[in-house]
């Protein structure tokens, strides 16, 4: 009962605060801008003047490549910034005391927040993907629906993994700055892991960003990304469980 009510409150909060604008609009901007900028890039470079840069002809893969680069860099940082305070701020401000002194468990408290955040991020991805697909289709002609969708699903798994450790860190740390610091640290570690331990790269969530591009170009199949997908989902559960485990031992 408490979890469902708290989840509804989280959704209402998203709609009544700036959270409803930041992630959806940013993702949508990437959806629109990535194909347009990719298309215009040769003209922009040509307009720079004396410097002659010869670029291969841009394709729909380049447009989606740009889309995923934006999502994996600025998009992921925005997700961390928006959700790093989701539990920590409630603890810091004192709103958590008002809730946890009622029949609401800490498990429900954290999972409701993760559920609402995941819903926002995944629903933000749908219009962004559609915008990118349509603009790419108009500007470049051919575009593979199946491959672009599969790559987007890999990003969805990756962003859930990021949300898992961000909300886990937020449950453990006392302030949102500390939770953000831990989350950025984990993000950097995730990104470096495939290069540092190449033999384990196939199981690394950090490989998912590269797989998105490889899927588009057909250099890997979706099945080859499964070990990384499964480990990302398992680590999402691990980070959330650890966050809840430590949060339950904290005094609020």
């Amino acid at each position: 009962m408490g979890a469902r009510v708290f989840f509804r409150k989280e959704l209402a909060e998203i709609f009544k605060t700036a959270k409803i604008y930041i992630i959806p609009l940013l993702f949508l901007l990437f959806g629109f801008a990535s194909p347009v900028l990719t298309k215009l890039l040769p003209d922009i470079l040509a307009g720079l003047g004396e410097l002659e840069i010869v670029l291969p002809e841009m394709s729909w893969e380049d447009a989606f490549d740009q889309f995923f680069k934006n999502l994996n860099q600025i998009g992921i940082i925005a997700v961390i910034l928006v959700f790093m305070g989701t539990v920590a701020e409630e603890k810091h401000r004192g709103t958590a005391v008002m809730i946890l002194s009622k029949p609401v468990s800490r498990v429900a408290f954290v999972l409701a927040k993760f559920g609402a955040a995941a819903l926002l991020v995944l629903f933000s991805l749908i219009p962004a993907y559609l915008a990118c697909f349509l603009y790419t289709k108009v500007l470049f002609g051919a575009v593979s629906f199946a491959l672009s969708l599969q790559a987007t699903l890999l990003f969805a798994v990756y962003v859930l993994y990021v949300l898992g450790f961000t909300i886990g860190a937020s449950a453990v740390m006392k302030t949102q700055i500390a939770a953000g610091g831990v989350s950025v640290g984990l993000l950097i570690f995730t990104s470096l892991f495939p290069a540092l331990w190449q033999e384990l790269a196939v199981f690394s969530p950090g490989s998912l960003t590269g797989y998105q591009i490889s899927l588009l170009t057909g250099s890997i199949s979706l099945a080859e990304a499964f070990p990384a997908v499964l480990s990302a989902l398992a680590l999402t559960v691990f980070f959330l469980s650890t966050g809840i485990f430590l949060f339950k031992r904290q005094e609020v």
Binding site: M1, V5, F6, V97, M98, S101, K102, V104, E251
Partner: protein
């Protein structure tokens, strides 16, 4: 059955015992003042009672339930923290609905309850978001949310200490309006508030219980009487003479007004007039009155070696 029972409750932070072997029984239906200077361990005790902190040792039963075994008792209690913090984007009605839903209250019943509570705390006409509320309004909304589930015990942590006199009066009036229906556990360091609303009190100092009794009994047992004596003048030797008297305690001089506690009324009655005559002092007014809780409190806390300042 006791509403709240604590048995050797202890909470340590490193070497410091914030609550030290606290054994206390709060009978059902009482308005129980939980008194102590700042840092006495009141808030720590309340946080343990509400499951927000774990005790180092000891046992607590609330409404017969062992709080370490189950959180079920939270359905039957209400809590107002010292500084209640809300979601600023909600209105008072939205917050009360949200709080009621967390208890699983049925929507129609909850709707009626919300209107009742808003009327009780004087916020029924308030439409703006909580972000625009004054501190007093937030405190009153805090009281309302603590009552939304019709609790059997309501815990109030310093509900008036951060308020101006008007806000304080409003909150105390609200407490007076519901105190007959529920056991109230009222933590505070403002003694006048306890005198206004409580019928029983415990005094805590440095994490330890000093005394626990009915307010009337506390006055009888620990008060003695307090005298106010207005005189024509206060010669230099009067103060030491009075201070030396065996029946006189807590002597204070404010201009021509002498105020002191009397431990033995009969002896004071016999000794005071010749003492004043000998000093050549005329009496303008002599008044004997019941001690207030503040005087009892200061007496008990000082006896226990507190260095705390009390307003």
């Amino acid at each position: 059955m006791a509403a709240v029972e604590m048995e050797k409750l202890t909470k340590k932070f490193g070497a410091l015992a914030a609550v030290n072997h606290l054994t206390l029984r709060v009978p059902e239906g009482t308005v129980f003042g939980f008194l102590g200077p700042n840092g006495a361990g009141k808030t720590t005790t309340l946080r343990i009672l509400l499951g927000l902190a774990a005790p180092t040792a000891g046992a607590v039963r609330i409404l017969g339930e062992n709080i370490r075994k189950s959180r079920g008792y939270l359905r039957r209690v209400g809590f107002l923290p010292d500084v209640p913090v809300f979601y600023n984007w909600m209105t008072a009605r939205e917050y009360l609905r949200f709080a009621g839903e967390l208890f699983g209250l049925e929507p129609t019943r909850l709707g009626k309850k919300i209107e009742e509570l808003l009327e009780l705390v004087g916020l029924q006409k308030e439409k703006k978001r909580i972000g625009g509320f004054s501190r007093g309004m937030k405190q009153r909304l805090g009281l309302a949310q603590a009552l939304v589930n019709d609790p059997e015990v309501v815990f109030l942590d310093e509900p008036t200490s951060a308020l101006d006199p008007i806000g304080r009066k409003e909150v105390l009036e609200s407490i007076n309006a519901f105190k007959d229906r529920v056991t109230v556990f009222f933590s505070t360091h403002i003694l006048a508030d306890v005198e206004r609303v409580c019928n029983r009190a415990a005094i805590l100092n440095r994490g330890e219980l000093i005394i626990e009794d009915g307010i009337t009994e506390l006055r009888q047992k620990y008060g003695g009487r307090t005298m106010e004596l207005e005189v024509t003048e206060v010669p230099e030797d009067l103060f030491p003479k009075l201070q030396a008297a065996s029946w006189c305690e807590r002597l204070e001089v404010k201009g021509n007004l002498l105020q002191f506690g009397v431990t033995d009324g009969e002896k004071a009655g016999r000794s005071l007039p010749p003492l004043l005559a000998e000093a050549g002092v005329g009496i303008i007014r002599l008044e004997s009155r019941e001690p207030n809780l503040e005087e009892i409190f200061l007496k008990l806390v000082k006896k226990n070696g507190s260095q705390s300042f009390f307003p």
